[in-house]
């Protein structure tokens, strides 16, 4: 049963992608229909996997030699992420019916979205690390294609390139890890490795651990690779929701969580992971505070929240990180889709031109505010519970200075969230914007996400049970809902956090009064707007490579004499090398 379900949940979206592509762009209505159909079907199959969770391999295709066996396993972590990917994915597809109405090249759009969903499911369900890398790369490819979807816009094209190159670069870490694992054990199987990580010499294990950290950081847009995610916001909004909030960026966190038991003993690894998470969370929160583009704010907040998850993994809280991953997927997808609805209706992404939209878009305001409250970590909403769990993990047995910084970031989160909500929905109108009503499909997609943002924390019990039972090497403590509530309410940390959040909120309310302080922080704002110099580094590298390439082109002189000189030079080179070596 589980084997068919696994193959179906990967294959259905891919089949759908093929059909949509073949259908051609003249039958837009059918394209919408097929895309929704296959996305929902894959979500259903993924959900059907939930009762079939197990720890052993269920599908296997032997490939021999240097490819190992292409195995698939339906364990808790994988199935959970598959469900997130397909469910959020299908909601994004449903949302697209309105958002992309009348857009050109729908076939390419839907094909890539569905291809992406299938790849994401494959990524989390396989236990062959080579295959994992394959799916990892496919998600990067789809992400590239979708970011550059409006490919007549140079900004979209360069944003896509940036995402592709950076995630591919990070992918090298994963590749290297997979290769050394194979070189030293002759197998690509993750579970075999996790059961006994000591088969690798400790230095090789270290190479693997830090390679994976690089890969995860690049994929999850963590320090120092965070720069691609904000630029990825050139994509259509459903894509931002699907890829850059709910699914692809989770792959990095998933990778770290998946391999945590093997790497936790590597000296310096956990602290590195925590520092990477902390830096990303902090920097992105500051940048979100000064950004004026609605989607960029959300993008920075994604980086920041992913920083929380990475931090949590480093701190040893695999469950907390995955729980926050779930909350975040829901509320961030909600925020992105709602932002998409706003942008779609007013035709701009600049928050300085918005304001007072609440009256014109009441439904969107409600769901956006729900998402924002969850993001800010206000009690009852799912973001509150998961963030509290993370902070609690961070407090116990981990460096306290990191904890303090994460606490401050929680305050900053509240601050930028309210700034954003205020600028968009409240206050007076700052420009004459013509507002389109929001379509029915958008509402169908937004409503369940809004409900989810309020309720998914109730799933803590079964969720922890799922992870605890099917991940034998992770030693996850099973936590029932009541336990969690008791734990969260019972610790002083929660109240400290809440106080900080309130402080952040208050800062926005009294922003007029403290403008003097704000002025003194101007230098920080300038630095943040320039993304702390990372953009400059990126640009420098690109320009350098281009310059070298252009310079090298002079070597192709086109003159036969120089060509022959190449032969003579090669002869001298080889003879010299041979005579020295002989």
């Amino acid at each position: 049963m589980a084997d068919e379900l696994i193959l179906l949940s990967i294959g259905l979206p891919w089949l759908g992608a093929l059909l949509v592509w073949l259908l051609g762009d003249r039958k837009a209505k059918f394209q919408h229909g097929i895309a929704v159909l296959f996305a929902v079907a894959s979500a259903v199959t993924a959900c059907l996997l939930l009762p079939n969770v197990g720890t052993s391999t269920v599908v296997s295709f032997p490939m021999e030699t240097t490819f190992g066996e292409f195995n698939f396993v339906a364990d808790g972590l994988g199935v959970f992420l598959a469900v997130i990917a397909t469910v959020v994915g299908s909601l994004a597809v449903i949302f697209s019916v309105d958002y992309m109405k009348g857009a050109a090249q729908l076939g390419r759009y839907y094909a890539m979205v569905l291809f992406f969903i299938g790849a994401m499911v494959g990524l989390v369900l396989t236990s062959n690390i080579l295959l994992m890398f394959v799916f990892w790369e496919i998600t990067a490819l789809c992400s590239y294609a979708l970011i550059s979807f409006y490919n007549d816009d140079p900004k979209a094209v360069s944003g896509g390139m940036k995402a592709l190159i950076i995630t591919q670069f990070g992918g090298l870490g994963l590749m290297l890890g997979a290769l050394v694992l194979f070189a030293y054990t002759g197998s690509f199987d993750i579970n075999v490795f996790l059961a006994n990580p000591s088969v690798l010499p400790s230095n090789i294990l270290g190479v693997m651990a830090f390679g994976f950290l690089i890969a995860a950081a690049a994929k999850s847009a963590q320090f120092p690779f965070q720069t691609w995610l904000p630029d990825a916001m050139e994509a259509p909004s459903p894509i931002s929701a699907l890829i850059h909030a709910a699914t692809m960026v989770n792959a990095g966190v998933y990778l770290l969580a998946r391999f945590f038991p093997a790497f936790e003993g590597v000296p310096g690894w956990r602290i590195s992971v925590m520092v990477v998470g902390m830096l990303s969370a902090l920097m992105a929160a500051v940048m979100a505070l000064v950004a004026t583009d609605l989607k960029r704010v959300l993008a920075y907040s994604t980086v920041s929240q992913l920083g929380y998850m990475v931090y949590a993994v480093g701190a040893g809280g695999v469950f907390a990180s995955q729980f926050h991953l779930m909350s975040h997927s829901i509320f961030k997808a909600l925020l992105f889709l709602a932002a998409g609805a706003v942008i779609h209706s007013v035709g701009t992404r600049d928050m300085r031109q918005m304001g007072g939209l609440g009256k014109k878009l009441p439904f969107v305001r409600i769901v956006f505010v729900i998402g924002a409250l969850a993001l800010a970590g206000i009690p009852i909403f799912n973001g509150f519970w998961s963030k509290e769990l993370i902070l609690e993990v961070g407090m116990h047995g981990n460096p306290i200075w990191l904890y303090v910084i994460m606490l401050i970031v929680a305050g900053l989160t509240a601050l930028y969230t309210f700034r954003c909500v205020w600028l968009v929905f409240y206050g007076e109108e700052r420009s004459e914007l013509h507002v389109h009503p929001v379509g029915i499909f958008s509402k169908i997609a937004l409503a369940p996400l809004a409900i989810g943002a309020v309720t998914t924390w109730l799933l803590a019990g079964p969720f922890s049970n799922l992870l605890a039972e099917s991940l034998p090497t992770h030693s996850i403590h099973e936590l029932s809902l009541m336990e969690m509530i008791r734990e969260v309410i019972g610790t002083p940390a929660t109240y400290i956090a809440l106080a900080v959040v309130t402080l952040g909120l208050m800062t926005w309310v009294v922003r007029e009064q403290i403008s003097g302080v704000v002025k003194n922080l101007r230098f920080l704002e300038t630095a943040a707007v320039q993304s702390f110099g990372f953009e400059a580094i990126n640009r420098g590298i690109v320009a350098g490579v281009q310059k070298i390439a252009e310079g090298l082109r002079g070597s192709q002189t086109g003159l036969l004499n120089w060509n022959v000189f190449g032969i003579v030079a090669g002869l001298i080179l080889v003879l010299a090398a041979l005579l020295i070596g002989a």
């Binding site: 082109r553 002079g554 192709q556 002189t557 086109g558 003159l559 036969l560 004499n561 022959v564 003579v568």
Partner: protein
């Protein structure tokens, strides 16, 4: 080292190859390029014969040299044909005018 016959012949081989390559490096005339190729090939043929003789398999050396002669005469013919065609289309045999494909 004595100046035994094999050394002398081999010196001729290496000398021919060297002169030919030098010509390929400095000449600008398309036809002279073919001359240079011919010079290099003469060296190769001598070497084949020398090796054949010294291994007591001169017949083998000779038949290989024949094949080399045939192959490189064809190359020379094609080179000259190309040169003539270049002259027709470009009006020049200068290699400098034959460098539009670059970078």
């Amino acid at each position: 080292m004595n100046l035994s016959i094999p050394v002398i012949v081999m010196a001729a081989v290496i000398g021919l190859v060297g002169i030919g390559f030098y010509c390929l490096l400095v000449t600008r005339n398309m036809i002279r390029v073919v001359v240079a190729l011919q010079i290099i090939v003469k060296g190769a043929m001598l070497a084949l014969l020398l090796a054949g003789r010294m291994r007591g398999q001169l017949a083998l050396g000779q038949s290989m040299a024949l094949t080399v002669i045939v192959a490189d005469t064809i190359v020379a013919v094609l080179g000259l044909a190309l040169a003539v065609q270049v002259k027709r289309r470009l009006g020049s045999l200068d290699l400098n005018d034959l460098s539009s494909l670059k970078r």
